[in-house]
Structure formats: C-alpha cells, structure tokens
Amino acid sequence: MRTRKMLLSALAIVIALVWVFPVYWMVNSSFLSNAVLQSFIPTFFPFPGTVSNFTAVADPSFFSALGMSVAITLTAVFFCIIFAFLAAVAISRFRFRGRKSFVIAVLVVQMLPAEGLFIAQYKMVSSVGLLDSVIGVSVIYVAAVVPFTIWMLRGFVAGVPADLEEAAMVDGLSRFGAFMRITFPLLAPGLVASGVYAFLQAWNEFTVALVLLPSEAAHTLPLWLRGFVQASATRETDWGQVMAASTLVAVPVIIFFLIVQGRLTSGLVSGAVKG
C-alpha cells in the first residue's frame, strides 16, 4: 500500500511538471535573448538571462493597452457585482411570481456564447457610436458575466441560513438591518470570489474586444498580445519578445488567481456542484 502510494505520488509529480511546463517555458523564453532562441537546440534554463525583451515590449502601445484593460475591467466588475448581488438576494431570499422564469432566463443567457452574438453586438454598439470606447465593451461584459455571478452569489446567500436573520429580527432588527448586520458580513468571501471571477473574465476576454475595439489605440492587453502572433505571419518572430509580452499579461493574473484560488474554486464548485 505504501509503495503504491509512493509510485502514484511520483506519477503525480511527473504530470504536474508536464502540466506546468508551458507556463515555465513562457517565463524561461522571456529571459532569453533572441540569439539564444535562434538555436535549434532549446535552452531549458534562463541562464545567462536578459531583461531586454521586457524593456523592448514595454513601449507606449503596451501602456495604452494596459490602460484600456484596467478601465474596462474595473467598470465591468463594479457594475457586475452590484447588479448580481441585488439579483442574488432577490432570488434566494424571496419567493415571488416570476422568480423561476428569471432563474431559467439567467441560466439560458449564461450559456449564450459571444461567438453567436458578436455580429449583432457590433452592429448595436457601432450604431450608437461606441466602438473603441470603454462603455460599449463594458456593457457587453457586464451582461455576459452577470448571469454566472448571480448564480454564484445565490449559492453564497442561500448558504447563510435565513434562521440567523430571523433570529436577529426577533431580537428587534428590521429585515434590512438583519440582512446588513448578519448576512452581508458572511457574504464577503462570496463577493470576493465573484469579483475575482468577473475580473478574470473581463481581463482575459478576447472575442468581444476584437469586434468592438477595432482601432489599435483602443486595444486591450489580449488584443495587443495577439498582434505579436499576427505579425509573425509577415516577419521572423522574436519569440523572446512575444514570451516577455505574454508574461507581462499573464503574471498579474496568475498572482491574483493564486491569492484567491481557494475561494474561487469553492465558489465555482458550489456554483456547479451544489447548484
């Protein structure tokens, strides 16, 4: 039994190394000079390293894309969380006619892929002159992320027993007061988890941004990064620079994701498992 456990553990570590390899390779290549990367024999460790790739890609176009990404993401997360929180309270704390229809609508909308909607979204946003703007994309992002966020928060709100609130009401608090003093603090992890979820969705989104932000000046980080791969069609790719650019885009996301991962996974799982 013990040797079996050890063998399986060794296997797990090998799998872990295989799985993490692309992430490692991105960071490794980002520190290697183009001369080293030109060799047909790969260099597996970033020694001697260089940061010249990073200084080369951190040009004004990067900071412009960073600015757009930050503006759009913050706008989308802010409204998404407020809207989703209100709706989650409505469906998990009240019984009313139309509740079930709303829940069904949310679940259906959550499934609609951007790929099936972007033509119409492009037409809609361009007809009001909001192409290349923060607002146009943000509205679509909020609409795309709000359903799952509602569903996720609903689980958290439902997880706080209404008995607790009722007990506080018996002790003389109003319904609103009981909610704010008892339930809301217990929801903080849920709000953080869904905020991170919304952040990651908006920050990494590609399809809608591609359609709604056509001019280069309005590109977000994912579109900026794609520019490097597109350019590779016409000229020799400087993979060191592409990997440095990818690292710049990925590292903040990875750090953020790892800090809150416990909450995020339990949030995703409670959304998916508990239903």
């Binding site: 692309p22 992430v23 709706a87 006619r97 972007f118 994912p222 791969v229 885009v249 498992v273």
Partner: protein
C-alpha cells in the same frame, strides 16, 4: 392575519426592484442582440445595407442557402467532432487526475494542484502564444523532444499545415486549459464520498475498479454530468484559440470552426444576414445542449 398581508405585498415588490438592474443590462447586452439577429437572419443584409440601404425581407432564404451549402455543413461537422472529442478527453483526464489526488501523499497533491492552478490561471491569449511557440515547426520544443525519440523524424514538422494536426494541436491546448477545472470539481465531489462508505465497500471485498463504478461514480454523477455539459458548451466556443492558431498558420476555410466562420461572414464578406443565420444556429445548438444542464440545476434548486 392583518399584519402578514401587507408584509407579503411588500416582499413581492422588493425582489422585483432588486432584479431591475440585472434585467436591464441583460436585455441591452444580450436580449437586443438576439432579437436583432433573429430579424436580420430573415433579411438580405449585405454590403449595400451597411451603407444605409433598407434590408429586404427574404424569409428563410438565408437558412435555405446555408442548408444547401456544403461549406457550412463541413464547419458544423468539424465543430461538433472537435467539441465532443475534446470535452470527453478533458473529462476523462480530469477525472483520472482527481482520483489520483485522492491516492497520493499530501505533498504530491499540493504540487499537482499548484501546477494545475497555474495552467488554469493562464489568460487564454497568453496560453495560445506559448503553445504556438511550443509547436513552432523549426525551433519549438515539442518537435525537438519528439525528434529525440529514436526512429521519430519530427524535425521541422509543421503541425499547423494540415487540418487534422491543426485541430489536434487546438484540442491539446483546450484540454490543457480545461482539465484543471474538471479535476478540481471532481476532486471536490470525491471528498464528499465518506470514508465510511469506502471502508465498508472495501470490507465487502470490492476492488478498486468495482468501487469506482459501483460507489464512487454514482455518488459523483451530478458533478460529472454538469462538468461534461459545461465542457461541451465551452468547447463549441473556441474562437480565440482557432483565431490565433490561424494567425500563426493557414488562413484557409478548411481550418474554420463555427465561431471563426461567423466572424469571416461578418467581417470579410460583410454578409450580416448569413452571419446572423449561422449565429442563430450556434445559439440553438448551445441552448439544446444546455437544456439538460439547466433542467438539472433547476431540479436541485427546487429541492
């Protein structure tokens, strides 16, 4: 009696007020586009209409054109095969990794979980650039490593040059990205299977295989079915991955899946009528797939 009635009426108004912002943004961002697409899919909406000419109603002509268009069916078939194969392989690997996590030491489990989390957290665009670099035909590590195997001649093998290998690459990337979610979800499900049940089964003489099919699988079936459906739905929408692989490889239509096909109809061909008709097809397909998932969630919601 008299104190309950007014409270109930107020309780009926409050939830509706709370729903207004969410409903408004959903109608604007999703509802209107869907309706516009349904309308436009019954119109001739091409380049002339882009410049302001009225769009004539053509009924189901767009759909008929599509139905008799071999190109569309090829794209639909490709998308479905890609989606089903990728989703099932992802589920199988994810479940195996989840089972593995229950059978290893704490330290090894932590290492595996951190590796999976790193892969999971990679932004899709960054992941695509790395994978394109890994599969690079001249200096990619994958060809280099495969070439080291005696008898395998992979030097300068161009993975993106034929549709089959192109989609294998796409599938590998999507599986790499999706397995962590499956593994963590299934693992969470597995930790709910109580030790006592497992011990009882072991005492009854059930072997590992029997325990999996007879006890573990039935208990984690809800998780498995939800995760599988989500994978199927997500793997239908692989626009970013295919777009970027096409950036690096061929631009030919043989490499299109539904998402990139619609994009092409909308942008290069400027045919919004046809693009809308295909979009409606994608939406219908998604909703059909989602229906079981949604029904399951609702059932649990009522319980």
């Amino acid at each position: 009696m008299s104190t309950i009635a007014p409270r109930r009426r107020r309780a009926n108004l409050t939830p509706r007020l709370l729903l207004i912002p969410a409903i408004a943004v959903l109608l604007l961002g999703m509802g209107y586009p869907v309706v516009w697409q349904i309308v436009t899919s019954t119109q001739e909406y091409g380049l002339a209409q882009q410049f302001g000419q009225p769009a004539p109603f053509v009924g189901l002509d767009n759909y008929l054109t599509l139905a008799t268009n071999g190109g569309l069916w090829a794209v639909v078939a490709r998308s479905l095969v890609f989606c089903i194969v990728t989703a099932f392989v992802t589920l199988a690997i994810g479940t195996l990794l989840a089972l593995l996590m229950t059978a290893i030491t704490k330290g090894a489990r932590l290492v595996l979980q951190v590796a999976l989390l790193l892969a999971w957290s990679m932004p899709v665009v960054a992941a695509m650039t790395v994978w394109i670099w890994l599969f690079d035909n001249r200096r990619g590590v994958i060809n280099y490593l495969l070439d080291l195997i005696p008898g395998v001649e992979m030097n300068r093998y161009d993975w993106l040059a034929t549709p089959l290998t192109f989609f294998i690459v796409a599938s590998v990337i999507v599986i790499w990205m999706s397995v962590p979610f499956v593994a963590f979800s299934v693992y969470a499900g597995l930790t709910q299977v109580s030790d006592e049940v497992m011990e009882a089964a072991q005492l009854d003489g059930a072997n590992g295989w029997q325990r999996f099919w007879g006890i573990i699988l039935p208990m984690i079936r809800p998780v498995i079915s939800i995760v599988l459906l989500l994978q199927l739905i997500w793997d239908l929408r692989v626009f970013t991955q295919i777009t970027m692989l096409k950036d690096a490889g061929s631009k030919s239509g043989d490499y299109d899946l539904l998402g990139t096909y619609i994009y092409k109809l909308g942008t290069s061909a400027q045919d919004f009528g046809m693009a809308s008709a295909v979009s409606i097809l994608v939406l219908a397909l998604t909703i059909a797939l989602s229906w079981f998932y949604i029904r399951g969630l609702l059932k649990e919601d009522e319980a």
